[in-house]
Subunit: 637 residues, 2 copies
């Protein structure tokens, strides 16, 4: 391969320890509660049985053709748990699954439990809808993670044979099919497989999938005709990001999870192949997605219909789909761009999505999940759900893509916290715990002590094997305007150190060097671009990386009637009994006197208003008490 375009590479999950602080308990809940919960749901709904070769009579309302991907994401999450610490029972469970999978593998390397059990004659006949490459991609990711965690190779060997089979079936060479997946995933999985195996052929295969996508004539249309389908396809080609070759795509389009996975795969391929036109396309699509089509929570894909991106500045709040998987996909994309560009813009978006639109996807107790993540809930009759989902988190879904996705992200969070590059160690996220990194050819221990994002102070302890000169890059969040730094107790002017969003401290690091970073977190009033008409005249409250929202349980009903005066003071304070101990934001607001208004719809005279307390809680934690109205964007008057 040509030299990689990546400036940085992420830390290994096993090299990072997360404990206490904001994330420790969440990650422990993920390990101890969420991962077992998900497995129980697999058993309940029949997907593990499918791996065992047992059919059920009916899969009504579920999507058994996606099951391999669900189980794979769970296996990947479990592998990260093992990478962070031993768990013999969990390892046995994975081994059993690997055994079932290996048994189901065809002699030509093909793996897909659904097709093998139900439609063996239809392999590779419907790339558009049937998710074989997507499922295979997730299994590859799981296999790579499991090999890294345990050193065991069986799973990885199974998936290498699968990848080789895919390589033998798809491509531009004579006799191969010029197909590509309807749901992207295999692209980034193949790059991971290359990292795990050193086999450059997998990057070439990923590159083929990326480059073939969207070419005319459409493979999906040809394939549909071969299946005997006539009439219009159920979704436009843009749903699959297949409306144009990827380098000609100018805006983030279609199904938002697919889009995020594609762009992540594009970034991976660009990084490995040194393809700067592909990287330029990634940057263009990044800007479209994050500067014109992203909720303040980091959610993307505003429409339920097609689970998709719509158009610039179209960010409705109540019907915001903002699928948990799409925010996770945005973290993936941001994380990859961050490794390539070493630029805080990507870290800022990664942090925004992680602390808001991703974390909102799972309940505090780890047993309930959000598929859609609306930014407003209004009072409506039962069953009237503008996102297609009830506002309360659910224990499972007919299409359960989100729960194992959030489980694997949380289980691998360490990877997103640290990176290393030539002569550089980077801290992207402030998370209590530590990491053992290799910088400049030697081992460096980095230790963070912090209650971030609740509190502004981050203490970082640097322990190199021996004194050496290298750069420690600390992300200065875009939301922070008054960051301050001291090194070994000595205040250090920050401005001269900051380039591309990181304070870059280049010095000879010694054992016991200590950095104190302060990231003051006043309550900020956030406004949306004036073209986002749904948010016009409204303000969102943000403190540090956390976006806040008002809930009915704290503020009563009719949240849209609540007006926060422009100049009103806003106070952040720790409320130990609120949501397991959270910082709430309080301020004086105004609301209408509904009694005085009376039973008329329209008035031309003044009506009575009264003072009211506004109490806002972190959006990520909403809906953990009782269901009711919710609003991120509060009227400002």
């Amino acid at each position: 391969m040509t030299k990689t375009l990546r400036r940085l590479r992420p830390a290994a999950v096993g090299a990072v320890r997360i404990e206490g602080g904001f994330w420790g308990p969440r990650i422990e809940t993920n390990r101890a509660v969420t991962i077992p919960h998900i497995y129980r749901q697999f058993e309940r709904t029949g997907s593990i049985d499918a791996w065992r070769g047992k059919r059920r009579h009916s899969y009504e309302g579920t999507f058994p053709q996606f099951w391999d991907s669900d189980i794979a994401k769970w296996m990947e999450a479990a592998a990260y748990v093992l990478e962070s610490g031993r768990d013999a029972a969990l390892e046995r469970r994975i081994d059993r699954l690997v055994g079932l999978l290996a048994k189901s593998q065809w002699s030509d390397g093909y793996v897909n439990t659904y097709f093998t059990l139900h439609r063996p004659g239809e392999r590779w006949t419907n790339l558009r809808d049937m998710h074989e490459l997507y499922c295979g991609g997730h299994l590859i990711e799981a296999a790579v993670a499991y090999a890294a965690a345990t050193g065991k190779k069986t799973f990885l060997d199974v998936m290498r044979r699968f990848a080789d089979h895919v390589d033998s079936v798809f491509g531009r060479a004579r006799g191969k099919r010029r197909g590509y997946p309807g749901h992207e995933e295999i692209e980034l999985a193949l790059v991971r497989l290359y990292h795990a195996t050193g086999e450059a052929r997998y990057v070439r295969l990923a590159e083929y999938f990326v480059n073939e996508r969207g070419r005319a004539p459409s493979y999906f249309e040809r394939e549909a005709r071969q299946r005997g389908e006539t009439g219009r396809a159920w979704a436009p080609l843009s749903y699959y990001q297949a409306h144009a070759p990827v380098r000609e795509q100018r805006s983030a389009e279609g199904h938002s999870v697919r889009a995020m996975y594609l762009y992540s795969g594009m970034a991976d391929v660009a990084a490995e192949t040194g393809d700067r036109t592909l990287l330029a396309a990634c940057r263009r699509l990044w800007r479209s997605a994050t500067r014109r089509r992203m909720y303040v929570t980091g959610g993307v894909g505003s429409a339920q219909q097609g689970e998709r991106f719509t158009f610039d500045y179209d960010l409705p709040n109540e019907s915001a789909y903002a699928e948990t998987c799409a925010a996770i996909g945005l973290v993936f994309f941001a994380h990859r761009m961050l490794q390539i560009e070493d630029d805080g813009e990507y870290g800022d978006v990664m942090e925004r999505a992680l602390y808001n639109g991703v974390l909102s996807g799972v309940s505090l107790d780890g047993t309930r999940f959000a598929y859609a993540n609306p930014l407003a809930v209004h009072a409506r009759p039962p069953g009237d759900h503008p996102t297609g989902f009830p506002p309360e988190r659910q224990e499972w879904f007919p299409c359960p893509c989100c729960p194992p996705n959030i489980a694997r992200l949380l289980a691998s969070l360490g990877r997103y916290v640290y990176s290393t590059g030539p002569g550089q160690g980077s801290i992207h996220l402030y998370v209590q715990g530590g990491a053992e990194l290799e910088v400049g050819g030697q081992r460096v221990l980095l230790e963070q002590r912090t209650e971030y994002p609740w509190h502004e102070r981050v203490d970082i302890f640097v322990t190199p094997e021996r004194p050496a000169r290298w750069t420690l890059a600390l992300r200065i969040p875009g939301w922070c305007r008054q960051a301050a730094l001291s090194v070994n107790g000595r205040p250090t002017p920050l401005a001269p150190l900051v380039r591309r969003g990181y304070a870059r401290l280049t010095r000879e690091w010694q054992a016991r060097d200590r950095i104190e970073l302060r990231l003051p977190m006043p309550v900020e009033r956030v406004h949306a671009h004036p073209r986002v008409w749904m948010d016009a005249g409204r303000v969102a409250l943000q403190r540090g990386p956390l976006v806040y929202c008002a809930e009915e349980v704290d503020n009563g009903r009719d949240l849209s009637d609540l007006v926060l005066p422009r100049g009103a003071a806003l106070r952040a304070s720790l409320q130990p009994r609120l949501l397991g101990g959270a910082i709430a934001i309080e301020g004086r607001a105004q609301r209408s006197d509904m009694q005085e208004w009376g039973d008329v719809l329209y008035r031309t005279d003044r009506w009575r208003t009264a003072g009211a307390r506004l109490l806002a809680v972190p959006y990520a934690l909403w809906g953990n008490r009782q269901v009711g109205e919710m609003a991120v964007w509060i009227r400002e008057g």
Copy 2:
């Protein structure tokens, strides 16, 4: 029949002359352009051919089972034109249609060109969906109007035989079917037929249909089973207002046109039978519809899905369905309640709907029609229409119910302007022209000279045959706070005269008595109930009965960015070249500097704004220049 509950009865169309002023040109366009345009569309799309007994191969995308109603509404409109003035060609055209209809009538009286031509064996087997009673009702209305206009009885005789047939088929007596229509209309038509014929049996039949509706077990469900249908019905019973007996219905529910027709029929039956429980139900449903579920334009039925009422205070603007036919139906309902109660509340709503959500349904040139009447249009990609219809008015629709409905309302406008009661003449609407009424047993000429609603002054000339004491009731619109009256030049304190929204002038009227009514029309800022969350922080501008809106053609794009300061002066001025001469409202507003904002989505700092002119035009006239954004509710800051 028992004594009617009606205090008033409307003037006959032929007794009222409308000329000049606001309405004269619109009614002339209706006569000279719209009515011929609609007939041409019937010929083009095959509905007249169906009356001739000629089938077409395909009716794809149209609803031939509703065609009789479309043609009937057109015939009714044409009859009113004839009632207002002779037109031999038009009369011949109606006679030819009557001839075709009479020829198609079955020996038992059944009339329905669609069933007769296509499904003769399926008569009365699907009352829920197939609109036979609805079509018949419209034909009855047309027949009554045509008989009144021309004195010719053929059409009326055909429809009497039809009504007798219906009476023989439906009812509670043994051997009859206990059905009722899926789309209401026959109820009010039968009461009209009673008025035209004196045959009380038709009122009893209407009463039966009203009383039978919504009883358990459901006729629609029984009927569906008899057709062999299994599984869920495509719409809930509330769609047809058949979820409960009408006296137990507490809120306006379901398809909004059907609801309005039902409530109109209920009011008619209550009035004729003296049934006060039924009248109480009408009042309840009136309050639900108009105090909790009506747009400021008088539009009702906020959801496209099911063309229906949703729930209290749910009045989204961009996706407002607010079907033209539903606003027309609200005029019907209001007009009936007004005759019963003689109360200005009904006149106010009738006027609001007429001048806004009804009149917006037809273009100034009379050749384009709105089906949905949204209160906001935002910039969206082509084909993305939240109401299901493009924002520009269309020359025709697959389901063309609205064009002939608005044509018959405009052609019969005089009926809504004047009423008479015992010793009373009433003026509900201020419309230039005159009327010949019978008050207290003698002929009275009332003449209005006014440019209302553009200008505040209304001159009314009263000419009784001979001096006599009676009451002239003049509606003082609810929007008017400073009305002033003078009689024969002498200012007359208004407050002591006003009861139930009307100034009631009881005196001995003499020829050449002259009243000058002034209804000052400052620009009003209207606010919606604080529970209407879509309008929170927004203001609508109203002057007189006209609700205004901002259009992109006058104000540029991004209308939601426009902020009207709370205290900003608003100036109304006649703009002779605007929309054929209209009064526009102008004021100073603020908008954001989009350049300065830049290519980011969210900001926490202040951004630059600049002064901007707001120009608003009457909502009824929007979309007559070029398509673009539109907003009734403007942000107020």
